[in-house]
């Protein structure tokens, strides 16, 4: 059951910054927590961003009135993992348990791969298309610079994500296999650590921020603002989504892998 806090029903729109002070939680009031019995449709009504989460788990829309647990069962998913990810994405202050089971790993990696696929084959090409439309609509000789810049940015994202798929994910899956080996002497010594892989995502974020600034502040006024706005909406959305995506790697996947490394080292 979702306990829907009455706060949610107060101001529908955040128009003036005054409204934000009405969002103060009265003492002892908690945010809504998603449980196995929560109806998936209710959750999506409350937080549309979770649409992205369920599609990355491979859950198709059209699930009727099914609860999270029922949908997970129908799709062969680990309900507790799905709940964890839904809650983390729903509320950034949701506290992740310290010890997470290693049987989350395979599904998490699949989830992250699906995320990569979404960014690389849907989201980024879509934004590029919007930029092309923007260029067509606005006869500014410099607008192609924005497209080039976005391409540079895209290349960095592609590079980063394919690096993860080529090296980090196989490393983690290898660890998982090793941890299943009973005899310690069969195990390979650890050559890497997950912390060696954690590179900061800040370089990529840098370009995304720059592009937003260029479109908002610096690029001269254009006759058509529709596509310019649309691009900006998409860039903010992308930024938010990438942060969540990276957060999942840093807050959930990495801690499990660290535990796994310790386990293998300790026994090996």
């Amino acid at each position: 059951m979702i306990r829907k806090p009455d706060i949610l029903s107060v101001p529908k729109k955040i128009s003036a910054s005054f409204d934000i002070y009405n969002y103060l939680i009265p003492s002892g009031h908690s945010e809504f927590i998603i449980t196995g019995e929560s109806k998936l449709v209710d959750i999506i009504q409350l937080n549309q961003r979770l649409l992205l989460v369920i599609s990355r788990f491979g859950i198709s829309l059209g699930f009727g009135d099914k609860s999270v647990a029922e949908v997970c069962k129908a799709n062969g998913l680990n309900t507790s993992l799905v709940l964890l990810v839904l809650n983390v994405f729903n509320s950034h202050s949701y506290s992740v348990p310290e010890l997470l089971p290693k049987n989350y790993i395979a599904e998490l990696i699949q989830y992250l791969k699906n995320g990569h696929k979404y960014f690389l084959t849907s989201k980024l090409p879509y934004i590029e298309e919007l930029i092309n439309r923007f260029i067509e609509k606005n006869d500014n000789p410099n607008s192609y610079l924005l497209r080039n810049f976005f391409k540079e940015y895209t290349n960095e994202v592609v590079e980063h994500m394919s690096l993860e798929e080529r090296t980090v994910f196989p490393y983690i899956l290898g660890l998982l296999q090793q941890s299943d080996v009973e005899k310690a002497d069969v195990r390979q010594p650890l050559t890497y650590k997950i912390d060696d892989f954690i590179d900061n995502h800040s370089n990529i974020e840098e370009k995304l921020d720059d592009l937003k600034q260029l479109l908002i502040k610096h690029f001269p006024p254009t006759p058509d603002q529709f596509f310019r706005n649309l691009i900006l909406f998409e860039l903010f959305d992308l930024d938010y989504d990438l942060n969540d995506h990276n957060g999942l790697e840093e807050r959930i996947l990495t801690p499990i892998v660290r535990t796994l490394e310790k386990e293998i080292k300790g026994n090996g």
């Binding site: 969002y23 103060l24 410099n142 610079l145 690029f219």
Partner: protein, 200 residues
């Protein structure tokens, strides 16, 4: 300097008392108020008599961080500093919106030094001018032409250190960090021609 006016937004009475007793030891420096009433907080912000807000970010129902972003905007508009008081996990990206973070297990000395650091930057920021100076324009042009800091220093007869400090200021003023971003800025503002750009 006048007393630093701090507004503490925190629900827990225990934590409030704790903050009060720590800051009281230097009461000549700090004027401290507590509130968790929406209207009261809003009034204090708008009064312009606030130097610093010490906020427990989980005080807000704010799954997407929108409220904190708006608060950040208020902090800029009304010229106060936003400091987080953190004692449970909180999203790191959102914590970046704060000028400083005080953790529940920070020692007294550390809390004071963090508060002082924030106030110092407050003073510095007020002196900041957002228009790009002629010298900075020169630097942008050379960066856009693909020159290294050392080359820029030689060309402008300044030290590499000065170039770096110009570049820091440029980034702060324009909100652009990457070299390719600065290049676009340079082309848009005709600091370099598009031909220069395609050559480099």
């Amino acid at each position: 300097m006048d007393k630093l006016r701090i507004l503490v937004v925190e629900h827990s009475e225990i934590i409030r008392q704790g903050i009060f007793s720590i800051l009281r030891s230097q009461s000549y420096k700090y004027e401290i108020r507590f509130s968790d009433q929406a209207r009261d907080i809003n009034d204090q912000i708008r009064s312009g008599k606030l130097d610093l807000m010490l906020l427990n970010p989980s005080t807000y129902f704010d799954p997407k961080g929108e409220r904190i972003r708006l608060l950040r905007q208020d902090a800029i508009n009304f010229g106060f500093k936003l400091v987080a008081l953190v004692y449970a996990y909180f999203d790191e990206q959102l914590l970046l919106l704060f000028d400083e973070i005080i953790y529940i297990n920070d020692e007294e000395e550390k809390i004071f030094s963090k508060l002082e650091k924030v106030v110092e930057t407050a003073v510095q920021l007020q002196d900041d001018d957002v228009t790009v100076s002629q010298r900075e324009m020169d630097v942008i042009r050379l960066v856009a032409l693909g020159k290294s800091n050392r080359e820029i220093a030689e060309e402008l007869f300044i030290s590499v250190h000065t170039v770096i400090s110009h570049r820091k200021n440029i980034t702060n003023k324009l909100g652009i960090k990457s070299v390719s971003g600065l290049t676009i800025y340079a082309v848009i503002n005709k600091l370099i021609g598009a031909e220069d750009f395609s050559k480099s």
